[in-house]
């Protein structure tokens, strides 16, 4: 099962490598990992997308909690949550493609953030499957480059991850 785990940790050098090291040392799978400081700059917030049986996910959350730098861990997928990912796609935008790309971007509520004679860069946010669908919808030959951030997640309503 796919799980999205969110955690708060001390914003210290090496903290990220402790988490990444834990996953590789114990053979857990990481689909994506994003991290950045929070409004309280002594804390970083990390979102990890992983897959595993219930037993494995239980071990992952326990092992994460065991890391000395980790303050709080929550499995967002246990209840209502939102997840968003940002993608930038550089596409060919010449001839017929120029109109086509603009239209596709509009349909998916993307934004064209860079324009040259030959290319566009389209910015798109959404859950991972929406970004996948956008790439599917494009002509493969037209995609020059893509970059994705991996998912960031947050609980709905009263579910608040804070210390």
């Amino acid at each position: 099962m796919r799980h999205i785990i969110s955690l708060l940790m001390e914003n210290e050098a090496g903290a990220l490598s402790r988490v990444a090291g834990l996953f590789s040392a114990r053979g857990y799978n990481i689909e994506s990992l994003t991290v950045a400081p929070t409004e309280d700059e002594t804390l970083s917030r990390m979102t990890i997308v992983t897959r595993g049986s219930d037993d494995v996910i239980e071990q992952i959350t326990k092992q994460l909690n065991k890391l000395i730098d980790v303050v709080k861990v929550v499995d967002l997928s246990e209840a209502g949550h939102l997840e968003r990912e940002l993608m930038l796609v550089k596409v060919r935008a010449e001839g017929e493609l120029r109109e086509e790309m603009k239209r596709m971007s509009d349909i998916f509520r993307g934004r064209i953030v860079d324009v040259t004679e030959k290319t566009y860069i389209i910015e798109l946010t959404g859950p991972g499957h929406k970004l996948d669908a956008f790439l599917e919808a494009l002509d493969k030959g037209a995609i020059l480059e893509t970059v994705r951030t991996g998912a960031s997640g947050i609980g709905r309503g009263d579910r608040i991850l804070k210390i």
């Binding site: 001390e10 490598s17 037993d55 239980e58 909690n65």
Partner: protein, 567 residues
């Protein structure tokens, strides 16, 4: 007044009440060593290899329950320490290891004797720090001692660049440290303890299974009270030996790969299993699928939530300090005025006695060759079971665990988790420093002892009267045993050729050496070695034992507890 970083390091160790620092100097720690020279608060023990420094600090910690301290230089000093650190990590031993680092300005420049110590040790420490500012030294060391010794204990590395030990700042040692990200649970959940107590009172075929957690949390007294109150059978892992008296009839022996038939069978066939400070590891329960038993309920007490439900699903998890949880549970059971069904318990004991009557630990007592089991049994007799015993890793380790009946905790000191050959001798040094008047023995093999034999020099320098019991079978015995059982007698590289004359070797270091070749000489040699005349001397006893003796019983790797190879 402003102090240098090096002065601060030394002052912090004194503030922590450190008695011994085991270490080896080098370029990056010269400033610290200069301050070690100037002080008299703690004793520095110069070892002959950094691995031994960490094992000695570890032996000291295991024998006392206090945090062991090692000091090593950067680069090779640091990497040599890693095996010792990993050993302590696997067995949850509280250590603070201070390593020197190249000056901050050249970190990352591939400077002379530079390694990324924080990176290298990350997977085998409870936590580690790189101190980049002299102002942080005192607080970091306070945190290091706090983290190492609380919760599930473990080693903490503090890496200090050379320039940081030179710079000056005001010194104040924090009285207390609190960390928002680290708050180990001590007291168990009362509701869970109640549920467990109820389950215990309803048990028909109960079994208590204890591990190193009992020793680490100093819970031997609470465990003994709890077990005697209930009259339940008890088994222990390799790491838990001595947590409950080994000569008590309720003790069914060690369990696991080389455990007793009765302990393993009772473990498999009980209806309520009470796991205390143990982690169901592969050498204990074998394959978790084979271990599964319909209808058996499991209570698991451990301070580390990640140890619960890691390999085996449990019915009542209790996160907390073993000592506190056992005390609370005993109180609850006493207050309930109930007792488990005595008739059922009697039937269960009859079954266990039947298993016990297989006498799985028997061996040939009429052999013309020295049987290693006999040496350990005799040693137990000669030392009246009161010695501190360290071991290395392999067959001799299992025989020591099986035949030396440990009645007290912290007497049995071995590398259980990592299985580090070369652990025994340096660990024994640490134990002897902690208990200068006690009998300290190191049971070892001719493979293991050669992995840190240079420490005989340290023993001479500090007059450590260790008794080294070498069970010499001219084989890497455990490897040879597996090759005999599972690899068609193909003894690939498991013989020990070109062995030194150990007695002479010991003598050349200034110790007493003995060679014992006949069973009838075993007792006399042991009596002499542990006797008053050699009390102040290190005695190296080279017992030439039966080459082909195997450790039995045995559960082959990957099998279940009821699939034992008996003699």
């Amino acid at each position: 007044m402003e102090l240098t970083g090096a002065e601060i390091v030394v002052r912090c160790l004194a503030e922590e009440g450190v008695e011994f620092v085991f270490g080896y100097p080098g370029g990056a720690v010269l400033n610290i060593y200069d301050e070690v020279f100037k002080q008299d608060k703690f004793k520095h023990v110069l070892v002959r290899h950094e691995q031994a420094a960490v094992h000695a600090a570890d032996g000291y910690a295991r024998a006392t329950g206090r945090t062991g301290v090692a000091l090593v230089t950067s680069g090779p000093g640091a990497t040599n320490a890693v095996t010792g650190i990993a050993t302590a990590y696997m067995d949850s031993i509280p250590l603070v290891v201070i390593s020197g680092q190249v000056p901050t300005a050249v970190i990352g420049m591939d400077a002379f004797q530079e390694v990324d110590m924080v990176g290298i040790t990350r997977p085998c420490v409870k936590h580690n720090f790189l101190v980049k500012d002299v102002k942080d030294i005192a607080e970091t060391l306070k945190k290091a001692f706090y983290i190492a010794s609380t919760g599930r204990p473990g080693p903490v590395v503090v890496d200090i660049p050379k320039d940081v030990t030179q710079l000056k700042t005001e010194f104040a040692y924090p009285k207390k440290v609190t960390m928002r990200s680290y708050n180990p649970v001590i007291k168990g959940h009362t509701g869970q303890i109640k549920r467990a107590a109820q389950m215990i009172l309803e048990a028909k075929r109960p079994m208590i299974y204890t591990g190193g957690g009992v020793v680490l949390s100093n819970a031997a007294e609470e465990l003994t009270r709890f077990t005697r109150l209930l009259g339940f059978p008890l088994t222990s892992t390799l790491m838990g030996l001595g947590g409950y008296p080994g000569s008590d009839p309720q003790f069914t022996g060690m369990l696991g790969m080389h455990g007793t038939y009765e302990a393993n069978m009772a473990m498999q066939h009980c209806d309520v299993l009470i796991a205390i400070g143990a982690r169901f590891d592969d050498r204990v329960i074998g394959n978790p699928e084979h271990f599964f038993q319909e209808g058996r309920r499991i209570i698991h007490i451990d301070i580390d939530p990640a140890s619960i439900a890691k390999r085996v699903k449990v019915d009542v998890p209790i996160v907390g300090n073993v000592k506190d949880v056992l005390a609370e549970m005993t109180k609850l059971i006493l207050a309930s005025k109930e007792t488990p069904d005595p008739a059922a318990l009697k039937t269960w004991w009859t079954q266990i006695e039947l298993w016990r009557s297989r006498d799985c630990m028997k061996y040939d007592r009429n052999s013309d060759l020295i049987k290693p089991q006999y040496v350990v049994e005799k040693m137990h007799e000669v030392t009246r079971g009161e010695a501190y015993v360290t071991s290395d890793v392999g067959q001799h380790q299992m025989w020591a665990a099986q035949y030396y009946k440990f009645d007290q905790p912290r007497r049995w000191i071995n590398s259980g988790g990592l299985g580090t050959m070369g652990f025994g001798l340096p660990a024994a040094m640490g134990v002897q420093f902690a208990h200068p008047d006690a009998a300290v023995a190191c049971i070892t093999g001719e493979g293991s002892i050669q992995m840190n034999i240079q420490e005989l020099a340290t023993c001479k320098q500090f007059n450590l009267p260790l008794k080294i019991i070498l069970l010499n079978n001219r084989y890497l015995g455990m490897v040879r045993q597996w090759q005999e059982f599972f690899y068609g007698n193909r003894y690939a590289e498991s013989y020990m050729d070109a062995l030194p004359d150990f007695a002479k070797l010991a003598e050349s270091y200034g110790h007493v050496g003995m060679k014992i070749e006949k069973p009838e000489d075993v007792e006399g040699a042991l009596k002499e070695a542990f006797g008053p005349e050699l009390k102040e001397r290190l005695v190296f006893m080279n017992f030439i034992t039966d080459r082909t003796e195997n450790v039995c019983p045995m559960i082959p790797a990957g099998k279940g507890l009821s699939e034992m190879i008996l003699v």
